[in-house]
Structures are given as C-alpha cells and as structure tokens.
C-alpha cells in the first residue's frame, strides 16, 4: 500500500519493457519454429546462425491480447463517461426547477409543485458523521494493528487478524439494525451524561431527546471502517524491514520508540491510504446511517441530539416516493457526494506524493 506511486511507476516501466520485447521475442519464437526445418534440410545452418531473419508476424496471440487489454482499459473510460452523462442529464432539469438555492437551503421537498431542496445540510451531515467516525476509528485501528503486528505472539496475531477481517464481512444493514435496536440505548445514556456534564460545549448541548444522533451514526460507522483501516495498516506495519527495526533497537530505542522511529514513518503513506479507504466507505455508507440517524435537514454541530442526515442516507430514504424532479434532485445530491469523495482522494494522493522522494527510495 505504502508505495502505491512507486509500484505504479514500476508497472509503467514493466509495461514498456513488455511492448519493447514484444517485437523481438515474436521473431525469436518464429526462428525456433523454423529451426527444425533448417536442421532437417541437408547442409542447413545451425539454430540461430546464418540466413535471413524471419519477418515479424502481423497477427497472432500477442496482438490479440494487446487488443483485449486496450479494450478493457477503454471500457473504464466509457463507463465513467456514461455515468457522468447520465447523472448530469438527470440532475440539470431538477436543479432548474428548484425554487430555492441548492447550496444554502436547509430542507428537502423536491416532490412539491414548487420544488425546494438544498444540499448544504446533507453534505455537512455526511462530512460530520464521517469525520467523527474516522476520529474514533483511526486511533483504535492503529492500536490494534500495532498490537497485532508487533506485540501479540505470532499465532494470536494471525487469529485476531482473521477476526478483524471477519468484522469487515458483516453487511452494513446488520450494523444498522444492531445500531438502532441495541447500541442506541447505551449511546443515549452516554449522551445524557455528556449533556449533563459537558452541556456547555455546543457539541454536547441541547434539550434532547438524545440517542438517534450523529454520535450513534458516527460510532456505528467507526465500527464499520475499523476493520479496513486495521487490516491495511497491519499489512503495512508487517512490511517494515527488520533491518530498520533492529537499527532503532540497536540505538537504544524501547519498543514504542522503535515503532515511532522505524515502523510508523515507514507505514505513513499506507496509513493515509487506509484512512482514505475508510473515509470513502464512511462517506458512501447508506443503509446503516439511514437506520441510525434521526433524519433532520438542518446544519448543526450538535452530536448528541436526535438528528443528522447524510447524502447517501437521504437517497435511500427518499428515493421510494420521489417523482421525476425528486429523483433528479437526489441524483444531483449524488453528484455532490461524488465530488466530495473525489476531493478526499485527491488530497490523500497529494499528501502521499509530497513525500515520494522518501518513500520511493524506501523500497
């Protein structure tokens, strides 16, 4: 994971090497095919010696395979273009029909004769719940990953790693139902406690009711992204060269100092990539949030009062009874979600790219 740019660079050179050698081995294989003929003929030349070189083949498996890979590569572009055209074509009429400002209006009633809808609250809720989820999940995930890779006995580490991966296989609707029916009451109790003691902080203010809140949604999301971040970071940590770990220990580092000096910096690009994958899942998560959030349409930093909403959850909730304009409005919100994830990914790439000089020479 860590050396994603590095590896792709490798793949690039590998690719050109394949195409370069493509011409010559084609000739070489033809020559091998020809060789028995020449040895059979009396006075024929030795394999590879004398005679004119055979012409390269015009058609063959090489060319066919090249065409197939080209087609596969092109298909990606075609699919992306098709999706983009579809989204824009559906979204534009709805946006035209909107009687309020799409960016600032706090509400979602696109099915009226006077359609009114705004993305602000939804986009805000999406980012807030995902950020909360990452804030909770990343430290825990890194802790688990470091434990599994450097503290736990090997067998225990493997077994626990398998369990963590199992957690990733639980369907999100199960997490959603569990969050709504089981997890919500302890979260509600905790929210009341927070409200009593830390109510002066706006995040934990309000008069209730508490429970079906951004806090609950964020916690459920955190549990859902935890296994992704854990297993990717664990892989990265395990790849740290033993030589570097020993170098740190030989300088008199304690185990934690060794992790800080050798393992964490080495795994940094991988950790960022893991976080971004987790964030991607959190941003796009639909059903778990549709089940746990209190569904409101206002921008609020309050984490514990019933409320909160996200773009994906709103699409899931509202698509059933949406009319033509309603669907267009939801598709427009989908475009905004797409833009948000794009920005997140570009930012992550930029962070990794900035340190490439150090990560490339690492491998």
């Amino acid at each position: 994971m860590g050396e994603t740019p590095h590896r792709s660079a490798d793949a690039g050179t590998g690719g050109t090497r394949v195409t370069q050698s493509h011409e010559r081995p084609a000739g070489a294989s033809a020559r091998v095919a020809e060789a028995p003929v020449s040895t059979r003929s009396p006075g024929g030349t030795e394999l590879g010696g004398g005679g004119a070189l055979p012409r390269s083949r015009k058609f063959g498996a090489e060319r066919a395979f090249r065409g197939l890979t080209l087609a596969a590569g092109t298909a990606v572009l075609v699919i992306i273009a098709a999706i983009a055209i579809f989204l824009v074509a559906k979204a534009v009429p709805a946006l035209r029909a909107n009687t309020e400002d799409f960016w600032s209006y706090e509400g979602w009633s696109p099915n009226e004769t006077q359609p009114k809808f705004g993305i602000g609250a939804l986009a805000f809720g999406t980012v807030l719940s995902s950020a909360l989820a990452l804030l909770i999940a990343v430290p825990v995930a890194l802790g688990i990953a470091l434990y599994l890779s450097h503290y736990a006995p090997r067998r225990l580490g493997t077994a626990l790693g398998f369990l963590v991966d199992l957690l990733a296989a639980v369907p999100s609707v199960v997490f959603g139902l569990w969050g709504r029916d089981v997890f919500s009451s302890p979260v509600a109790d905790f929210s009341v406690w927070l409200n009593q003691h830390f109510g002066w902080i706006p995040l934990f203010g309000g008069d209730g009711p508490f429970g079906a809140s951004v806090m609950l949604g964020g916690l459920v999301l955190a549990i859902m992204v935890l296994p992704i971040i854990t297993s990717l970071s664990r892989e990265v940590f395990l790849q740290t060269p033993t030589a570097n770990e020993e170098a740190a220990l030989a300088l008199g580092a304690t185990r934690w100092e060794m992790l800080r000096t050798a393992v964490l910096p080495y795994g940094r690009p991988g950790i960022i990539a893991a976080m971004m994958l987790g964030l991607g899942r959190a941003l796009g998560e639909t059903i778990a949030l549709a089940l746990t959030l209190g569904i409101t349409f206002n921008i609020s930093f309050n984490l514990i009062q019933n409320g909160g909403n996200t773009i994906a959850a709103n699409i899931a909730n509202a698509f059933g009874e949406a009319n033509e304009t309603g669907r267009g409005a939801l598709i427009a919100s989908g475009l905004v979600l797409f833009a948000i994830t794009l920005i997140v990914n570009i930012t992550a790439r930029a962070i990794i790219y900035r340190r490439r000089e150090f990560t490339e020479s690492a491998a």
């Binding site: 006995p153 090997r154 060269p241 030589a243 570097n244 020993e246 170098a247 740190a248 220990l249 030989a250 300088l251 008199g252 580092a253 304690t254 100092e257 000096t261 050798a262 910096p265 080495y266 940094r268 340190r355 000089e357 150090f358 990560t359 020479s361 690492a362 491998a363």
Partner: protein, 258 residues
C-alpha cells in the same frame, strides 16, 4: 571512552537450538578484534549477544556472563536500552531509516535520548559525519533522504549514526560484505581512526580484512551442522595468521576448509 568487554561461559540459544557454547574471551579497550570462522559457527550470534540484540528474536536467550568494565550487562537491574546505547552496532546491510533525511538519520539516536536542541544536534551530526569520513560528501545535502546515497556512503552514514550517541564499544557485523572494494577500503580506513576512541569488534568473512584491520583475532568453528559454535583460538592477529597454535585454525586460514 572505550571499555573492556569480557565474556565468560557465554552460551546462546535460538529456542531449543544451542548456537554457541562456552565462549570465553576478553577484548581490550581501543583495539579492533576480528571474529572469523565458517558460516553458521555462531560469530554473529556472539556479536549480537554482546549488545543484547540476540534476545530480540522470539525464543532466543543467552546464558553465562558478559561484562563491560566489570558491569554485567545481563544483570536483572540493567536497562537493556542503556546497554545498546553503550554498545553500538553496525549491520551487515546498510540500513539507514528510509523515511529520514541524512541529518535525521545521524541524530536519530540522540533524539531517542531526548536531545531536542537544534544547535546541539547540528554539532553532533557534523562531528559524527566527520568521524565517519562522510561530511565532505553530504554536507550540501543533509536534508536529502539517507537511502539515496550509494551503498558505501549509506554504510558510513550508519556508522555515523552509531557513533553519534558516543558509545563505548562498536560492534560491526560484516559491515563490508555488501560493498564494493573501494567502499570497503574507506570503511577499513575508518576503523583505524575509530579505534582511537572506541573498542571495535568486527565479524568478517574476509580473512584479508581481518588481517588488515584487527589487532586480535578470534577463530570460531563448529564440528558439524547442528552443533554449537565454539571459540577455537583467540590470539594476536599476527600470530593467528602466521603461526596459529591450533591445527584447525591453520586449516581454515590456509583455505583447506570453510
């Protein structure tokens, strides 16, 4: 600042496997001592027991006593990190920290010791790099990655990193085996200079190197695969290479086995 290293009855295990048995040897301060012998004879294991790096591997343990200036480094009350700061180590393959610049690599040990002041770190880095004969080559690019240097430069960077924390003893585990002859020469020259300040113990497969750089030589060997390594002969380098007392040593250095 150099100390005497004494081993008495040192036996080291990897799990149930006994790698070395009853090693007795004393290394005088400010000398270079070479450990030679065929592969698998336990010379690296012995080297790694001197700074307690042996026990890093799961299941590995050491018996017997190892002292530096009469202090037992395997004593229960001794802090293992302090032992490793006192007895530095240079590894077979150059292993600068890949995510760090040249400067950060050199001062990594000092930072682990809590030194934070920039001026102190800069002075220490220059001093260590000068001692490692690397300063002139890297002084204009201290912020560049350490892993971008050539193999020989990287190894000298690792030596600089090791001596920056001012250890008493420097252990070198085949420091030149991954290097070309010119880089090897540079490291050997460096050993001559460093023995003014440090006690140096070096493991090498290269007998010419042992003969060139060391004052005393210890010859390790094993009876057969699976047996623990033993110290066969330990004497002045000149004696070992001209007139060894044990037949096995002579066979080894004349190339009759190993």
């Amino acid at each position: 600042m150099a100390k005497r290293v004494s081993a008495s009855n040192v036996t080291a295990y990897y799990g149930g496997f006994k790698a070395i048995e009853n090693i007795n040897l004393t290394v005088e301060p400010k000398t270079v001592t070479a450990l030679i012998g065929p592969s698998g004879c336990g010379k690296s294991t012995f080297l790694r027991s001197i700074n307690r790096m042996h026990e890093v591997l799961p299941g590995a343990r050491v018996e017997g006593s190892l002292t530096i200036d009469d202090q037992d480094i395997y004593d229960r009350d001794v802090d293992v990190t302090a032992v490793r700061r006192t007895i530095g180590m240079v590894f077979q393959r150059p292993n600068p920290f890949p995510t760090m610049s040249i400067f950060e690599n050199v001062v990594a040990g000092l930072k682990l010791n809590g030194v934070r002041k920039k001026s102190i770190l800069e002075d220490a880095a220059e001093k260590a790099l000068r001692s490692a004969n690397l300063w002139d080559e890297v002084k204009d690019r201290l912020g560049k990655p350490g892993a971008g240097l050539s193999g020989g430069q990287q190894q000298r960077l690792c030596i600089a990193r090791t001596i920056a924390v001012e250890p008493q003893v420097v252990l070198m585990d085949e420091p030149c085996s991954a290097l070309d002859p010119i880089s090897t020469l540079a490291i050997e020259d460096l050993m001559f200079q460093l023995k003014d300040k440090f006690t140096i113990i070096i493991v090498t497969h290269n007998m010419q190197q042992a003969a060139r750089v060391s004052d005393r030589t210890a010859f390790f060997s094993i009876e057969k695969t699976g047996d623990p390594g033993r110290l066969i002969e330990y004497d002045n380098t000149q004696k070992i290479f001209s007139n060894p007392s044990v037949k096995k040593t002579e066979d080894y250095i004349t190339g009759r086995f190993g």
